[in-house]
Symmetry: C2
């Protein structure tokens, strides 16, 4: 990418947001799970409007994406998995640079969330038996509707086809106003249509398979997005790979609650790979079949969703897009004050609001451009039926607005579901403000009399008596009091027995209770680490002319905390003394745990043209996002050069490692260092 | 577990090693993949020999294991996954304590290997297409042989049944010397028997299904231990979950090699979950279906397996068990000097030796008892057929000697296999010491003449000519020279054509080559992180009497680096001033990134009996392995108590966090701190 491309990109980016204000399809489309062909269609729509500048902007987002993607692959941030075998769509490997960025992002995430909020971090199995996802609803509902090309057997997502059709029809200026309104209507609800409704639309519109134009199967069939497998050799024990880490936490809730001293709130965090069998994954690093989630399950008393640290974030202002705004015409995300959004009920609780604020701070701290970050509330129909509220942190990149963090109030849904399915009570307790008197049923079988009457069956009869509910017990009591005996069914014996009045005492007793028991609600911030990383790459990428002005150089402007390598150590010339000095610095950095590169072998050709060589070596480091370069140009002192300003300071050999370490760890800034050393 | 049990354990442990010297089945059995019933059988054998003390020792390892296991589950190091649904054997969840230990172990591992050796750490997909494991041989060979209980359908590993039979028969004192020798013979080779041989043994010995005594299916069938799944909706794209992380590295070799400046050695590391579908996993944390591997693939020039840092480890002495020793009668692991073992060729290369030494240092640094750690060489038959040499770091625990790290020279096997299957050359290059002259075949088709003669077929003819090997080319040349033309088969056309002399020039040219190309060998240290952690738990566990002497208290003697929590902060009494001071300390520790516990709520009952309360709180922390307790007994200064010595020092409130931080990070020892503060 050169300067022209770069400036074009900025032009495009500006235009995108203009267009968004006009409510063009590019936003909702890219924000959702649109695949490339649909995006192309939408982008086509955008360009039609911008006809005057069409020739300039046309290929921009794709060109930008490709330019960045090429560097990311070449510098081993990631590459398609199993590339030598042609790869498998939706699978990516992180190379050394990408893995270091991932570790840095996770380390910051732990600091920002797990440590700051005293969360419990756990690690649960990815392999999961079927019963767990039956209980959670994933077996039934974690599906996409698909149709099949009747000729070549290829599968397509039904909603994507209908969406693509509507968007392309809308571009036809000859359609009536009614038709346009109808298409808008379909687009607004397409993600919520049932198989039958989608099938009907496909028939009505005569939609055929993309490219081939073959007929499509009818009606659309649900395809479960979980990968299936079997435990053990019998083939009878069905399991799934988890599509989220949360269920592992829910089924262990009582363990964690007890470990937390039976107190709420209780926050449990988990970082782990999850697996989703996308029908036809595209969008490279954005829609993967295997990816890393970092999830937090913050359990609260549903009667108290306040958060003691909410005041720390309530003054924050950032782009928010409440559902009412999305439903109005011509609206986009606007800067709102978080405190006000919670006070007005736009965000449904302080705790949800607190996490929205923390997620904002985290992403901006990582290096996400806050002008290209918004919090979009799920529309009523878009939310899971059990959710009380849900906001997505969406980051804009060349693929559009991408959901990178979901912050949902899942209510008590999951714990209730697992309680019911497993028969194990997953509840918390709270002290009542004042003790309460309640009536309690007391059933006391008289074992001696029962033993005489029923001998070996006594135990079953006792258990049956004790298992009566209040109504059964009071009816039995009434019968015994009026008739002196009663027929009583003992299921475990498969017969009725006669119970006499002296065999059981039934009464109601008033007792004082001091606790209430309840199923906690859970607020869940769920971070797609790979998506955040990809957006970060795009936001940090820039180009600038070389000093000579004859070429465009690539720079990743990573913050020192995120950068895969914190510095590079370069002896100015091939010289044993300088190389030894470089090794001393490297050793010190290593013992401080600072990731860096050292280049101690300079080719003869480079020595001939030293200045060019140093410039090239800086450029190579800039392209990798290395924030500092240490040029060893004397045996006792060195030059540190900062990547973005290209400013330099001289530091003694003795001091250089600790100076760079303090900047790499975020304890000092480049400005601090310059002020001290130049001042 | 009480003191008696503890002393019994030591007695048992001593006896184990005595017995081992006598070459009892306990070693090879436990070292391999024996399951619990078989171990019980073996332990039974051990106890028969030790009849005199049988009653004392009998239940010891199981009792110890259960005691430790109970605490590990109660304090949330791990617990069975999906427990509320009855669990799935072979799956474990790490609770907050276990996850912290895991993160600490990984952090030390990275420091010790990745950073120290400048390795590239990568993260590859766990989902893997079939073709990769076809190439690697896993689809064919990553299997266990199993037989089926013909009545209830349960599966059993055939080798375990034969092994169990032989071991139990051997205990019969009435068998002849020949019979005993035969049984020993079978035991020595049981893991290498084919399906037919195992089936024959089962028939010969009349072995039936364990417990049920039902007949078994015949012959044993191989069961592949990889979990299968399908990509996408068609069900045609078979994939597997990786059973090791290594293949992801091999298929990406060229990327990493290029990133490393096309230089060897090149070491690539990967930490990731792997999945093995064990037939009937037992041994809880030792034999899991999903577990974390940390693997290193160190690629070297097969002509140069020296290691520049070998002198750093060559003087180490530790328990080694070469294959020759294992094959002799009555031998056990002996302390050998690593340098000598390499010099004598017992270990086949310096690089392999270097990693053995580093693994030893790593494990001991973690806290593994070096007297219960040995390096056992694979026997010739035990090694993968391609391996040049292989040593397992085995750690002794209540399950016996457990393979925790495998250090193998996999030779060039994997890279060759993927090269061949994918058609992509996976080779490295090296400069020749001196340039070499070689004869090179040069085939130059004369396209003009060929075009005139063959028109549309020209391209196929040209390709066929260029594809000739040396012999074919020289034969064609001879024919053309003698007869002026020749019949020539063009496979892609499915016919012969007539080639005339003017249509192709064939010659040999002398060229100078300065490089040789070769497939690197790979040395692979592969760490089973979960197994190492479990052994560490057992090695760090101990009990001691309470101060009052009235009860036995549990202590995990984790080193500060490994301990899940570095300290606990305890206000001596419930008092606002002390609690505020405790919070100040906690805040400082948090900002230093030091994991700790703080207990600011003391019950009234505890206040009544303060000394007991503090003792109980120490005991609770000791049981979790917390190395330091900070008792806040004044608003300006505190007491630090060390877990193992139970010694205490007073420190100012201001200084305490930094003192604990320096010990938690391994920068200072307790002795350093005591010397300074008491001295």
């Amino acid at each position: 990418m050169n300067a022209t491309e770069q400036s074009l990109l900025h032009a495009f980016s500006k235009k995108s947001s203009t267009v968004e204000d006009q409510e063009m399809p590019i936003r909702p489309l890219n924000a959702s799970s649109a695949e490339k062909p649909e995006i192309d269609v939408a982008i086509g729509g955008l360009f039609d409007i911008l006809k005057a500048e069409k020739s300039v902007v046309e290929k921009e987002p794709e060109a930008f994406r490709q330019a960045v993607g090429n560097i990311l692959e070449r510098r081993l941030f990631y590459n398609p998995s199993f590339d030598i075998y042609g790869g498998i769509t939706g699978l990516l490997d992180y190379g050394p640079s990408g893995r270091l960025v991932e570790l840095n992002v996770l380390s910051l995430w732990r600091k920002f969330f797990v440590n700051e909020e005293d969360m419990l971090e756990v690690g649960c199995s990815a392999l999961t038996p079927e019963i767990v996802f039956n209980a959670s609803g994933h077996v039934k509902k974690f599906t996409d509707l698909m149709v099949k090309d009747e000729v070549n057997g290829a599968f397509h997502r039904a909603d994507h086809l209908v969406k693509g059709y509507c968007e392309s029809r809308k571009k036809d200026v000859t359609i009536s106003a009614e038709k346009a309104a109808e298409l808008d209507n379909v687009l607004a609800v397409v993600e919520d249509l049932s198989a039958e409704e989608l099938g009907a639309k496909i028939k009505e519109y005569g939609i055929t398979a993309p490219h081939t134009k073959n007929p499509l199967s009818h009606p659309p069939r649900p395809f479960n997005l979980m990968f299936q497998t079997f435990f053990g050799p019998t083939g009878s024990s069905l399991g799934y790979l988890r599509p989220e880490t949360a269920q592992g936490i829910f089924v262990n809730f009582m363990n964690y609650y007890n470990d937390n001293g039976r107190k709420l709130p209780l926050a449990v965090a988990q970082v782990g790979r999850v697996f989703r069998n996308e029908i036809s994954p595209r969008q490279g690093p954005i829609r993967a079949r295997e990816f890393l989630l970092a999830e937090i399950e913050h359990f609260v008393d549903p009667e108290n969703k306040s958060h003691p640290k909410f005041p720390d974030v309530e003054l924050l202002e950032f782009l928010m897009f409440p559902r009412e705004e999305q439903e109005k015409s011509g609206q986009s995300a606007k800067k709102l004050c978080l405190g006000e959004a919670v006070a007005k009920g736009t965000v449904n609780s302080e705790t949800l609001g607190y996490f929205i604020g923390r997620v904002y701070l985290f992403l901006v701290h990582l290096g996400i451009d806050k002008e290209r970050l918004r919090f979009r509330q799920h529309k009523a129909k878009e939310m899971a039926h059990y959710a009380a509220d849900c906001w997505d942190a969406e980051i804009e990149c060349s693929y559009g607005w991408i959901e990178c963090v979901g912050i949902a109030d899942r209510s008590a849904y999951d714990l209730c579901a697992h309680s019911e399915k497993s028969g194990v009570s997953l509840v918390a307790e709270a002290k009542l403000a004042e003790p309460k008197e309640i009536e309690k049923l007391v059933i006391t079988p008289v074992k001696k009399e029962l033993g005489v009457a029923f001998k070996a069956d006594q135990k079953n009869v006792v258990e049956a008596l004790e298992a009566m509910n209040e109504q059964e017990a009071m009816e039995l009591k009434a019968t015994l009091e009026s008739k002196g005996e009663a027929e009583f069914e003992v299921c475990t014996l498969g017969k009725n027995v006669t119970i006499k009045k002296n065999m059981v005492s039934i009464s109601k007793k008033r007792t004082e209770v001091r606790k209430r028991f309840f199923t906690p609600s859970v607020i869940e911030p769920s971070f797609g680490i790979g998506r955040i990383m990809y957006c970060l790459y795009e936001h940090c990428f820039s180009t600038r002319p070389s000093k000579a002005g004859d070429e465009q150089l690539n720079v990743f402007r990573f913050s020192p905390l995120v950068a895969p390598f914190k510095c590079t150590v370069l002896p100015l010339v091939q010289n044993q003394q300088l190389e030894e000095a470089a090794k001393v610095i490297s050793k010190q950095l290593k013992s401080d745990g600072i990731k860096h590169k050292i280049e101690i072998t300079v080719t003869l050709k480079q020595i001939e043209t030293i200045s060019a060589s140093i410039g090239k070596r800086y450029a190579r480091a800039d392209e990798l996002g290395v924030p500092f370069a240490i040029t060893v140009d004397s045996p006792t002192s060195v030059t540190i050069r900062e990547r973005d300003s290209r400013d330099q300071v001289r530091v003694s050999l003795k001091e250089v490692a600790s100076v760079v370490t303090s900047m790499a760890e975020g304890k000092k800034t480049w400005q601090d260092v310059c002020a001290r050393l130049n001042g």
